[in-house]
Structure formats: C-alpha cells, structure tokens
Amino acid sequence: MFWINVKRVLKSGFFSFIRNGFVSLSSILVMVVTLSVICGLIFLSAILNSSLDQVKNKVDVNVYFVTSANEDEILSLKKSVEALLEVEKVTYVSRDQALSDFKERHKNDEFTLQALDELSDNPLGAVLNIKAKDPSQYEGIANFLQKGNFISNAGAPIIDKVNYFQNKVAIDTLSSIINTADRLGFIFTLIFIVVSVLITFNTIRLVIYISREEIAVMRLVGASAFYIRGPFVVGGAVYGFISGIITLVIFYPVTFWFSRVATELYLGLNIFSYYTSNFGQIFLIVISSGIGIGALSSYLAVRKYLAV
C-alpha cells in the first residue's frame, strides 16, 4: 500500500507541475535567482579566499643575524623555530646567498656595487625567513625569538634584529582586515541566503495558497495528510531540480565571460577554470539546495491548510 501511495504521489506531483505551467514557470524563475545568489556567493568566497591567501603569503618575518654568527648556531635556531606549531615554513638565506641576492637586486646600480667592492668582507648577515600559518601568530613567533636570548658560544647575541617589530603595525592592520573580511563575507553570505530562501518560500506559499480549496476538498474526501502534502512536496522538489539545472547552465557562459574580463583583476584566480574543475561540488550544492528549499517550502506551506 505504501508503495502504491508513493507512486500515486509522484505521478500526481509531476502532473500538477505540468498542468500548472505558468505558475510553475514563475516559481522556477524565482528559484533560479535564489540559486544564482548561492552560486555567486560560492564564487565570491573563492575569490576572497584566493586574494586573502595571496596577501597572507606576502607577510613574513625576517630574522637578521650578526655577521659573526656561526652557521651551525643559525641552523640549530632554525630547527627550534621550525618546531613551533604556528610556523609553516622557515627559509635559510646564507651570507653568500644574501650577498648575491643583493648584487642581483642592484645590478643596475654601479655606485652601490662599487661601494660593496670597497669592503673587504661581506657586510651582510644571514637571514631566516619565517612564514606563519596565520598572520596573527607572528607576534608570538617574534616574541619567542626576542626572549630566547640566543647566544653564540662566545657569549654574544647572534640575532641582529627581527623586522617584525618594524612591521608590527602593518601586520596587525592586515591581519585585522583579513579577519574582518572573513567574518563579513560569512555574515553577508548568511544574510543573502536567508533572504533568498524567504523569497522562494513566499512564492511557493502563494502557489499553494491558490490550491487551498483543493486541499480542503481533498481533506473532506478523506485523504490523509501524507497523501495531500506529497504531490506538493514533489512539485517543489521538481521546481528546485529544474531551477538548479538552469542556474548551472547559465553560469557556464557567465563565468567564461567573467574570467576573460577579470582574470588579472583578481590576482590570477580564473573563475571559469574554478567552475569547471569544481563542477561536481558546485553541482551538488546548487541542485541539493534547490531540491531542499523547494521541498521544504512546500511542506511547510501546505501545513497551514491541512488543519480542516
């Protein structure tokens, strides 16, 4: 009996979907807008994340060592820094490397190179380039280096300076901007999703409002709540599925066009290739939110008219 009912509910849901042509069309259009908002927010957060990642990658802390510092001592310091949980990567730049980097940077600057040649010894100290997992963690790392009192065998401090304290203000501002952007992005996403779900919900409620007398008749004929509600829920799910497909199709040329116009602008994230490479995931999100919103809205909207 249950399966006969399920079969009948499915059939009746599909038929009423087709026979209510115009109403179905308008609900689908509204749902396409909702799903486009959701889809757009997926891209927006991808863009935001990739820009933030690139900014984050540009932040680091440099530890400059005195020229007399022993390479072994520096490497052992490097090991202890690497052991810190907050640290993502530590790069060691030796004195010779620093010198050749310096020469490379100033190869068009004859005066500087000449002045360098005047010196008998390499004036540059070795450098540790430290990258944290999160910008807010630089302070802890810098403090660790500062308080550690790393001293050479001869008893002199080996660290010349840690440039975090020069860059502190810039890094702090940056990490707070990043945090705010993250949080704002999340809040906006939520608000947009809630608003568009409400609009869809209202549209479907109107569709079902039109059918309120039908529902009353079904009730009086002795149909059970499941039997009345079922076709509406199926109809809602069908709206969601079709809207999802339309949205995905629309986004194909849109992202293609967008990626051609705006690739450079967004620091190299190619939206079109993001869309195609993450298609499975986006497909699942869009289609399942479509079906979910459609079915749930119908379920809730019918409930109001079931109380005869």
């Binding site: 009996m1 006969i4 009912n5 009948r8 038929f15 009423s16 026979r19 209510n20 007398e213 039908e214 009353a216 008749v217 079904m218 009730r219 009086l220 004929v221 002795g222 149909a223 059970s224 709540a225 039997y227 005869v308």
Partner: protein, 226 residues
C-alpha cells in the same frame, strides 16, 4: 444511523448557530433539511463531518462519537460519507476520471478497482462521454454530476448534498434530484439541504425545518413551509 444529542454551537461572539438540536436519521432514509440562510443547516452538516466541534452535546454515527476521533480516524470516517457541495469543488487540474479516482486513491483502493469502478459511476450519472474532460470544460449540471459520482464511488453509507442545486437551472436541478433519489433507492442514506420549494414538495420524503438554530418541524412526508 445518525444521532444528534442536544447539540449546541455558540461562536465566540455569542451568536448561537445551533441550540439543543436533537434528532436521529435511520439508515437508508432520504432526509431534507430546509430553512433560511443562517438557520444552521450548514453548521449541522459540519458537525457531522467533524469539521467543527459542538459547544455542547454529542454527534453519533452508529455507536461512534464523531468528535472523539483523532485526525487519522476522522479520515476513515469521512470516507464513509460522500459530500456534494453547491459550488461543486472539483479539483481544477484533474480530469473527470482523475477527480473521481482521487477519492478512491485517498480511500486506499487498488488501481484495478479504480479502473473498473470509475467508468461504472460515470455511467450511473450519465457522463461516460466526458471522462477525459477537465472541470472548466463542463457545464454546471455536468460538474455537479461529477461531484455526485465522486461522492458515491466509495459506496458510502451516507451522501450529504449541501444545496447541490443552488447554482443550477430547473432542468439540471430535476436531473440531480433524480440521481440522488436513485442513490437512495440503491440503499444509501441521503441528507439534502436546499432552498428550493419545488424540489421539497415533489420529493414527498422526510423534511426537517430549521429556524435560528432550532428544529421547528420534523414531518415524515413534509412540504416546504416557512
């Protein structure tokens, strides 16, 4: 058999729709309920269908107190009662066949039963030619006959017809009443409410007259008297 035991209905603004109404209807009877608008006819029918609860008193269908039922058992009760309304109330996006089949599906009948019974009732109300039409393609009289077919297809114990001829011309009115009589002859209790004096006078069956929520007459071979 139906039994109303001192049923009263008072709405929240103190307007009295029914006042201590007591009567019974034996099985297989044809009863007409007459009275002006607002006399309480529709409220009476709603009580029987458990659409509204009485303020006091009880309504029995055989030995069951109608208002002690929960949602699920109400559905079972309603499947034993076929209803015909003045405004037809067909499902607009279903064909004639589907409208009638829906009542059978709701009652949990099998597809085979539906395939054999629906044409049979359509034959009974003389609508076999319109099986695949939609309600908006039918005349008022045809719609009402579909509604009657829907009401009787589950072989109910009772058919309630709430002013079924209110929207129809004299010829269609006559045909609808003939169909209701036929249903009654086949052994189903029919409860008819109407304003139509001619219908009542020609029926020569039991008439309950109502006024201001009270029964003022109950005659076995009644006429329409105001």
């Amino acid at each position: 058999m139906i039994y109303f035991d001192k049923v009263s209905k008072v709405y929240s603004d103190d307007s009295v729709a029914l006042e201590e109404v007591t009567f019974s209807i034996p099985p297989r009877e044809f009863v007409s309920i007459v009275g002006q608008s607002g006399a309480g006819k529709t409220t009476l029918l709603k009580m029987l269908l458990a659409e509204e609860k009485p303020t006091s008193g009880k309504v029995f269908l055989e030995s069951t107190d109608v208002h002690s039922l929960n949602r699920k058992t109400i559905n079972t009760l309603r499947r034993r009662i076929g209803i015909v309304f003045q405004d037809f109330r067909l499902l607009p996006y279903k064909t004639v066949f589907e409208n009638i089949a829906f009542a059978m599906e709701a009652a949990g009948r099998t597809d085979d039963e539906i395939q054999s019974d629906v044409p049979h009732v359509l034959e009974l109300v003389d609508l076999a030619k319109k099986t695949w039409s939609f309600p908006h393609e039918l005349s008022g009289g045809e719609k009402q006959r579909v509604a009657i077919a829907r009401a009787i297809v589950n072989q109910p114990d009772i058919v309630i017809a709430d002013e079924p001829t209110g929207n129809l011309d004299p010829l269609n009115t006559y045909e609808i009443i003939q169909i209701l009589k036929k249903i009654n002859d086949l052994g189903t209790m029919v409860i008819l409410t109407t304003h139509n004096k001619g219908v009542i006078d020609s029926l020569g069956k039991r008439v309950i007259s109502m006024e201001n929520g009270k029964i003022v007459r109950d005659d076995n071979e009644g006429k329409y008297v105001l």
